[in-house]
């Protein structure tokens, strides 16, 4: 399964501006704490005046699971690896691994290095962050 369609809303507009430009944006408070992009208050201190900062793109696999989707054209079910990654800046992100990853062939396990990439369902919808195995 590749990523599905998603639209922006007021809360995600700036984040999706970032993904459209190939950037994964995080939140940084005046004290320098980094939080995931979804927050409106710093996850370390109560600060709410957060700025957007670009993530470096590196991440480490925390956990993974395997799901299957059956394409509407009736082909064989397609495997997708779902993953939690710890970004090098600290926050966790939940998304899928890009492509048809064989977990056995890759000896997939926590600690595996990954990097963020972006995919979109179609030109009408937003670019979604995914992980790619290093």
């Amino acid at each position: 399964m590749s990523v599905g369609p998603v639209q922006r809303d007021d809360a995600t507009a700036e984040f999706f501006d970032g993904t459209a430009a190939g950037r994964f944006l995080l939140r940084r408070c005046p004290a320098g704490h980094i939080s995931e992009p979804t927050v409106t208050q710093c996850t370390t201190c109560p600060a709410t005046d957060l700025e957007w900062v670009q993530a470096g793109g590196g991440a480490t696999l925390v956990s993974w699971a395997i799901t299957w989707s059956r394409p509407t054209d009736g082909d064989e079910p397609r495997r997708t690896i779902l993953a939690i990654g710890e970004l090098d800046e600290g926050p966790w992100w939940w998304t899928q691994l890009s492509g048809d990853v064989d977990p056995e062939a890759e000896a997939l396990a926590a600690g595996r290095r990954m990097r963020i990439a972006f995919e979109r369902a179609d030109a009408e919808h937003e670019a979604v962050p995914v992980f790619v195995l290093d």
Binding site: M1, V3, G4, P5, V6, Q7, R8, D9, A11, T12, E36, T38, T43, V62, S63, W64, A65, I66, T67, W68, S69, T80, L82, A83, I84, E86, G90, P91, W92, W94, T95, Q96, A109, A110, A121, H125, E126, V128, P129, V130
Partner: protein, 382 residues
């Protein structure tokens, strides 16, 4: 203490709304307690995935001049939380007889259970992006939690399977259970993947129906129709790190703080627990809660459940009605209802000989919300 238990027909029961199930459950609980509806002066309501229940249930039941009325929502920890609030209300004198009810009707004749619980994919915003990433519903989130435990502690799918097999063995003796044909570990391993590492037989049922309990004062419960069930201890834990960086994810849940706190309040220890009724949305939830409550050391839940101690022939009476995996899925009312049945000594062929102290868990969200109750057939030392 708990004086009444009402359970509607549970499972693939069609043609009733959640509100109708809820009203039926309260009427059944009132009758079970040997009181009248007009004796109820407090009502706490809780709805499941299909919604449809509100404080409007007061009108449906013709309850007038209530002294406590609220709708509560802490997902799978709600049933335990309702009993806690009701207990505090009767202890404070705010109310005398509080009905706590949960009902749900997610199953429709032409709709698969997966469609019911997986159809909320949001098309926009943060949640829309999560769904677009393929992470839809609870199954993948719990699977990610379980995999982390498996990698950290070498927990295996076969070990999780022992929980499914043992609970099915219990369900054989429960007339209210939806699935009563015994299964083997091989059946568990051969059942299709839902989200790997979860097989189908790692995952709970989906059920229609309603369950209510009546909480009242010790004075009152002692003179009613059923053996009173004392609520000796309670606690909640809401760690609040869902989807954030969380070193405990999949390894430790709120049960690790709520369980010891509830036992301490009750003046009991893990060794005193005669019957355990744990929230079992997945086999993994049972394993993690056993570790967090201290029935085995952290990380040793896999060998612990595989050691042959579970099931009707084992030493540890755990999820004696089949739980949510094989019995019925009424969120936190599943473990609570079976705990009341066991504490009363009304379990019939599945009754635990020792049933003075019954430990009950509720788990909501993705291991985010936990409630614990310590029930007892004797008032005890507390």
């Amino acid at each position: 203490m708990i004086a009444g238990l009402g359970m509607t027909a549970l499972g693939k029961i069609y043609g009733q709304t959640s509100a109708q199930f809820a009203a039926d459950a309260v009427r059944l609980a009132v009758a079970d307690a040997g009181i009248e509806l007009r004796d109820v002066d407090g009502l706490l309501t809780s709805s499941g995935v299909s919604g449809g229940i509100s404080i409007g249930l007061q009108r449906d039941l013709g309850l007038t001049d209530l002294r406590l009325l609220s709708h509560m929502q802490a997902y799978g920890s709600t049933a335990g939380a309702m009993v806690q609030v009701a207990s505090m209300a009767v202890l404070s004198g705010m109310a005398n007889v509080v009905a706590c009810v949960f009902a749900d009707s997610p199953l429709q004749p032409e709709r698969s259970a997966g469609a019911v619980y997986g159809s909320w994919r949001a098309p926009a915003g943060w949640w829309g992006m999560l769904g677009a990433s393929g992470i839809i519903g609870a199954n993948p989130m719990y699977a990610l939690a379980a995999r982390r435990h498996m990698e950290r502690f070498r927990t295996t799918s076969e070990q999780l399977g022992h929980i499914a097999v043992a609970q099915r063995d219990w369900a054989v003796f429960n007339p209210a259970a939806q699935l009563r044909d015994p299964i083997t570990l091989a059946d568990h391993q051969a059942s299709r993947w839902i989200v790997e590492p979860f097989h189908l037989l790692d995952c709970c049922l989906v059920s229609n129906g309603g369950i209510a309990v009546i909480v009242t004062t010790a004075d009152r419960a002692g003179s009613l129709a059923q053996p009173p069930v004392h609520v000796l201890g309670w606690a909640q834990s809401h760690p609040g790190r869902h989807m954030r960086r969380d070193p405990d994810f999949g390894l430790v849940s709120g049960a690790a703080t709520a369980g010891p706190a509830a036992l301490a309040m009750a003046g009991r220890e893990v060794a005193d627990v005669d019957v355990i009724e744990l929230y079992d949305c997945y086999t993994f939830t049972v394993l993690l809660t056993l570790e967090d409550y201290g029935f085995c050391p952290k990380g040793e839940g896999g060998p612990f459940v595989a050691s042959g101690g579970l099931g009707p022939r084992g030493k540890l009476p755990l999820n004696t009605g089949g739980g949510q995996l094989s019995g019925y899925y009424m969120w936190g009312m599943t473990p609570l209802s079976e705990a009341i049945i066991q504490a009363r000594g009304h379990g019939g062929a599945r009754q635990s000989a020792a049933h003075d102290t019954v430990l009950v868990s509720g788990n909501g969200g993705v291991l985010e919300h936990h409630s614990t109750l310590v029930l007892a057939s004797q008032a005890g030392a507390a």
